[in-house]
Amino acid sequence: MAVDVATVRRVAHLARIKTPEGRLEPLAQELNGILAWIEQLNEVDVEGVEPMTSNVHQPLRLRDDVVTDGNKVADVLSNAPKSADGFFVVPKVVE
């Protein structure tokens, strides 16, 4: 499955990474190199195999549904690019 420039443009947008037009062709070549190498997975017989998403063979733990943390507005905002009055401030966007 060769990846073309249009596909790279679409995927870069899905990844929300601005990619200049001049970078699309080289990126398509890199991805094709990597994907060609990945194609070998098609040799493996995976008939009836359950997908493995985790190494942990235990059910997810549950805890009581109670408040354990909070009231840390200053901490939460301490790395905000911009904040005011206990809120994140984001650029005004009208679309």
Binding site: T19, W37, I38, V56
Partner: protein, 492 residues
């Protein structure tokens, strides 16, 4: 007094407890080493000397009262993806330049609880994506080792290159590191140090900047196997703040050291021979088998038939998880934000184009591709099925063997700039280490010999889940037999 910075972690902890020297003394000695070496080695992105001295004095006060934890007063380096309260944490990325966490990772909190001192934050590949430290926004780390008469700068490996170089260059007693596909064990092999990745779930991921959550595991890089056993015990704990943390006891692994390997069955996987592997690495692997056989272990040839599919599966699974994990860097709540964006989408896209380096962008693009409509089943789900095949390979041999011996890497350290041309060539660095991540198994790299240029080579021991005890037992036997004492000649 002899050079305190050359001590092992164990010897330093014992010396501190016996009050042969103070934590302030040994901390000052390391600060002097860092000041002298860091302009050349670039191992630390942020030395925290004032904080180190404060922590050292507090440790000395506890030691004076006969108190203190198992690592009391020992100066360590911390990989820059462990969040440290009030101290900048960047994961090697411009995206997080200036990010100061208001909380502490569980792993580092455990180390401070046990009395350790933080010398600073260590350089790494950006978001741990790399095998040579060249993807760091802070520039590459330089390996303290040189090959033969060549003066070429070598990579210390990655992504924990800063950790490995700092330990090899005596810029800390030991360091924290993390391993998603080999990022502890490969740099350890490249620098003549010991690196351990424990069983997935032993060490908490809380406060560790995420790369691929089902694979990421913290562990130490140290000078000796004993140091690794000592430090790993402090790092591991059950943590309710990490949903994949295992609620199990953390044993005292130092008890496994020096224990005879007589009767242990050691598996030699025939698939771990790759094209282009230097003869020296093959010979060292055979030597490792001979050492263990002489020590009374039984060498058993085994087959792990899906080994060659581990790396391609990894390069679907890890980028897919990364594309999800790194979606949080959107310029809104923390991290870099682009100026003058024209729309909300433009703000996201420009922020991420400016904040992420080339390799991170490449992997996020792959991740988005393999998760996208029409490709999800063909790539992502297939990779997850192959992952199970790889895990089953190991399950199928544990009845026959107690541990597995392999080379740590296909080669010794290479020159900076040498493998950047082709991403796949760079990815092959992790061919022997990545299987343990996919299967969640513990693995250790032990320095075991030198190549003809005098560069260190490592052997890896892989064990059953939660059986670090056997891994340490075998590693300790290898360390004893190898008698590896080489150190890089100081040029920095």
């Amino acid at each position: 007094m002899s050079d305190l910075t050359k001590l092992t972690l164990k010897a330093a902890v014992d010396g501190l407890k016996a009050r042969d020297f103070s934590s302030e003394e040994i901390t000052r000695a390391f600060i002097a080493n860092i000041e002298a070496a860091n302009p050349r080695l670039n191992a630390y992105v942020l030395p925290t000397s004032d904080k180190a001295l404060d922590m050292a004095r507090a440790a000395d006060a506890r030691l004076a009262k006969g108190e203190g934890g198992p690592l009391e007063g020992a100066p360590l380096g911390i990989k820059d993806l462990f969040c440290t309260d009030g101290v900048q944490t960047t994961a090697g990325s411009n995206m997080l330049r200036g990010f100061v966490p208001p909380y502490e990772s569980t792993v580092t909190a455990n180390l401070w609880r046990d009395g350790a001192v933080m010398l600073g934050k260590l350089n790494m590949d950006e978001f741990a994506m790399g095998s040579s430290n060249e993807t760091s926004a802070f520039g590459p780390v330089i390996n303290p080792w040189k090959s033969g008469a060549s003066n070429a700068d070598l990579t210390p490996g990655g992504s924990s290159g800063g950790s490995a170089a700092a330990v090899a260059g005596d810029l800390c007693l030991a360091a924290t590191a993390s391993d998603t596909g080999g990022s502890i064990r490969q740099p350890a092999a490249f620098t003549g140090t010991v690196g351990v990745k424990p069983t997935y779930g032993r060490a908490s991921r809380f406060g560790m900047v995420a790369f691929a959550s089902s694979l990421d595991q913290a562990g130490p890089i140290t000078k000796t196997v004993e140091d690794a056993a000592l430090m790993l015990r402090s790092m591991c704990s059950f943590d309710p703040k990490d949903s994949t943390s295992l609620d199990v006891e953390t044993p005292d692994w130092t008890q496994s050291l020096g224990r005879s390997v007589k009767g242990l069955r050691i598996g030699i996987p025939k698939e771990y021979v790759v094209d282009g592997m230097p003869a020296e690495q093959m010979e060292l692997w055979e030597k490792g088998q001979a050492w263990l056989r002489e020590a009374g272990a039984e060498i058993v040839e085994i087959s792990l038939p899906h080994t060659k599919y581990a790396l391609p599966a990894y390069y679907i699974i890890a980028p897919a998880e990364a594309s999800s994990n790194l979606a949080r860097y959107d310029g809104m709540r923390f991290g870099h934000r682009a100026a003058d964006a024209k729309s909300l989408t433009d703000l996201y896209e420009t922020t991420r184009a400016e904040g992420f380096g080339k390799e991170v962008q490449r992997r996020l693009t792959i991740g988005a591709y393999v998760l996208s409509a029409g490709f999800y089943d063909a790539y992502y789900v297939r990779a997850l099925k192959v992952r199970r095949r790889i895990a089953e390979d190991f399950d199928n041999v544990w009845g026959k063997v107690d541990a597995i011996l392999t080379p740590s890497t296909p080669s010794a350290a290479f020159a900076i700039g040498n493998r950047q041309i082709d991403p796949v060539t760079m990815y092959l660095n992790d061919v022997f280490t990545v299987t343990a991540n996919l299967a969640g198994l513990p693995g250790i790299s032990v320095p075991a010999g030198l190549d003809k240029g005098g560069l260190p080579l490592g052997l890896q021991v892989i064990g059953k889940a939660l059986d670090e005890a056997t891994v340490f037992q075998v590693a300790s036997a290898l360390e004893d037999a190898a008698g590896f004492v080489a150190k890089p000649e100081k040029w920095w």
